[in-house]
Amino acid sequence: MAVKDIKTYSSATEAKQDSQVINDFSILVATPNGSGSQTSNLVLLRALFKMGIPSNGKNLFPSNIQGMPTWYTIRCSQDGYVARREQVEIAVLMNPETATSDLAKVEAGGVCFYPESAGYELTRDDLTYYPMPVKQLSKQADVSTSMRTYIANMVYIGVLSQILGIDLTEIEAALQWHFSNRDKLVHNNISVIRSAAEWAAQHLTKTDPYQIKRSSATEGLIMIDGNSAAALGAIYGGMTVMSWYPITPSTSLADNLSHYAKMLRTDNEGKATYAIVQAEDELAAIGMVIGAGWAGARAMTATSGPGISLMSEFAGFGYYAEIPAVIWNIQRMGPSTGLPTRVSQGDVTACYWSGHGDTKHICLLPGNAAECFEFGWRAFDIADRYQTPVFVLSDLDLGMNSWMTEPFNYPEQSMDRGKVLTAEQVASNGFQRYLDVDGDGIPYRTIPGTEQAGAAYFTRGSGHNAAANYSEDSQDYLDNMARLQKKFETAREQLPLPVTVLEPNSNIGLIGFGSTDPPITEARDLLAAAGVTSSYLRLRALPASATIRDFVEAHDRVYVIEMNVDGQLHKLIQLQLPTLAVGLCSLAHCDGQPLTANWIVTAVLAKEGDKYGTHTR
């Protein structure tokens, strides 16, 4: 296969030499955190989206409340690419502390907006600079002194809108949406934005090529973050008990769940058809979930890496004792301090094998906001059907950032509560908790409180026979483990299947999951432009469907792309397909930032150029 020399993201840079670059560039806003810039950035993003421009916003924030550097990038792409890019065309430098390094991220020919009194040096001569009278305009604003810092961020919205052509009526509508129509807040903010836009109209002459033009490319779409989508999904899935402990980046899932549950799940008498409990720690959170699932609730928790570690004993217990539970893991970087507010896909094996002893778990892998919603309700069905803990692996990028998506589909099927026996069924047929009646490895269960002699059973971890009696007998243990394995195999082909794009005549395949879908999708187009076509399989559940064998066999080399260092999914697939292991190459990268198409393209081309070298890391 000939590999052409390709240049990524060339469209914007090349086009601007001609005249205008329309709806195809990235904006970086650098601020100190705690300054309220999240509001202005979300308003900006929403206005762009509502103008019909495909866009995505990503918040890169520190583990800090006030003062440390924060960056927000908005990518506009008429072609609908929403992955992160390494470079930007436009920078808004509100944070003097990072201004120099931020300037380095701007493409040649790009634009820099800076506060007039910023006091830092504008060192590059290949950029267009626009000053902004931030202090002056925020002083004039009709708000209290304490609100001035926040309102300062509205100044850049105004100046940017004027220079780039963002419609102020859409900005105002976005403010209305953001502030839930609290008129005073909307008024204060839009006034500053309008003054800033007017100032820019009078004082600045546009000399750069970047333009926003109204489009229809987002028609019919909505914009939402994955955690809100997951929360909504859980509510439509009939969540009844949620217990959690605050941890970034999963907290907003719990917060949104509370918000929507109050709205959607309060009965006619004002009573809650759910319980949401903030526990004392993750040990208790998962304990409540396991207890509730055992007693017939649709129980869930949401957490991140450290919480996953603390929950592992109960997750393993749930596997052995066969208790439904849903555990959302909004993945982030590794232990303790440093990068807890950065994205990663580093908990694949931690979740898959969570617990001691021979445990393995069903893991759902949502790849976009719509799947966060769908898996939000479906996870309960799967947990109840297979009577086991189900992990849902989202991540910080998918969970906390705003994504365009088709509106969510209402669940197309009734709730599946699995194999639950009524008192009458127990009376007429008898009941053995761990007996494989149907030959699929899935036993029947009764719900505590079922009033029938013989309905009750004793739940334990490792040692029980088919009748749930205490047993330390080796054969009982072996029989039970064999049945659990059978149950796991039953689940394998019933879980959400991979989404596959087979490219005829392509020698290489890409496998990915979760939030790397946008960069992989974009990378495939870039690779194709360079003459390297690729097939694509996006995995949506573990255990992986046996059909992944066909995909791997159909290609000379398959690259498993993921945001961790050890290539965790790559190793799991190698274990599943040991005879094909040498054709599986790991492209694993994790630096705290969402993966870029550029990284993938470079990595694939490097490996393709080195075909006869080592493909496996």
Binding site: M223, K271, A272, A284
Partner: protein
Amino acid sequence: MAHTRGKTNAIGLHKNDYRGDDTTLCAGCGHISIGSQIITIAYELGLQPEKIVKISGIGCSSKSPAYFLNRSFAFNALHGRMPSVASGAMLANRDLITLGISGDGDTGSIGLGQFKHTIRRNTPMVYIVENNGVYGLTKGQFSVTADDGQMSKYYGKNELPSMDLCLEAIVSDGGFVARSFAGDPKQLRPLLKAAISYNGTALLDIISPCVAFNNSAASTKGYEWVRDHDAPLHDITYVPLREEITADYEPGETRTVTLHDGSHIILRKLDKTYDPSDRVTAIRALEHAKEEGTLVTGLIYCNPGRASIVETEMLTEVPLAHLPEAELRPREESLHKIMAGM
């Protein structure tokens, strides 16, 4: 189980319907006596066995649910985490009668956090600590309730102070804090019954001697010492709802506590000044007993007025686990409306 003769209770069950498996605990273990009293009170109160959930952690205490109430649902959970599992089960089904069975290690050490937080949330359940001052199942290590100076053949002398679980419960705003003794069924039975009626977490710290590792004459968890030093605060009678209070006490001699479900506890005073509704009195009584070298037993503190988690969470009358799909899945129009707002 078919029974053709013998006495039955209010719901037509025999005492045998409340029994458990044959015990595998040591002969003479206090936990066996506690199990017997649980069987007796469940029978006497006419509780539907399948409405009871027995939830335990890890340890000898936590094995004991296998030896009573075989017709009840049971959950032998993880070490120190009985309270969270019990809380989850209760949230799922508020109609269940939750018996949490734990020990001094399971509650006072690994489970101290869950113990205190469950009490703080006032999750309706009977929280039984079978307190023997040692880790029996791992062969006699000191627990957090071991006496300061307690001796062990293998581990030598315990140099650390003993934790009082009743004190811990009171300072965590526990609304029902009682201490009793496995060898005193007369006191234990009414306390167990009252604990079931209490709307919240009812702690029963039951001294339950370990005959294998901690039953010396000097041990405050041994049979001999407790019999000699038991200082009951009152004689306790439990009067279920709808039963008349028979007035065979002198006026002023008794104190009556009315519980959430309309039942009563009648405390016949032995110590004329003791007021179990006063937290400071309760704490003072525990501290005083410690100084004096006695064991205060009885209902040490009771505050029936605290809201339970059922009220603070505003749960529906119908248990969450019983709500039909129509109540759990909002209608399709509601989703469209939310989508339109995005």
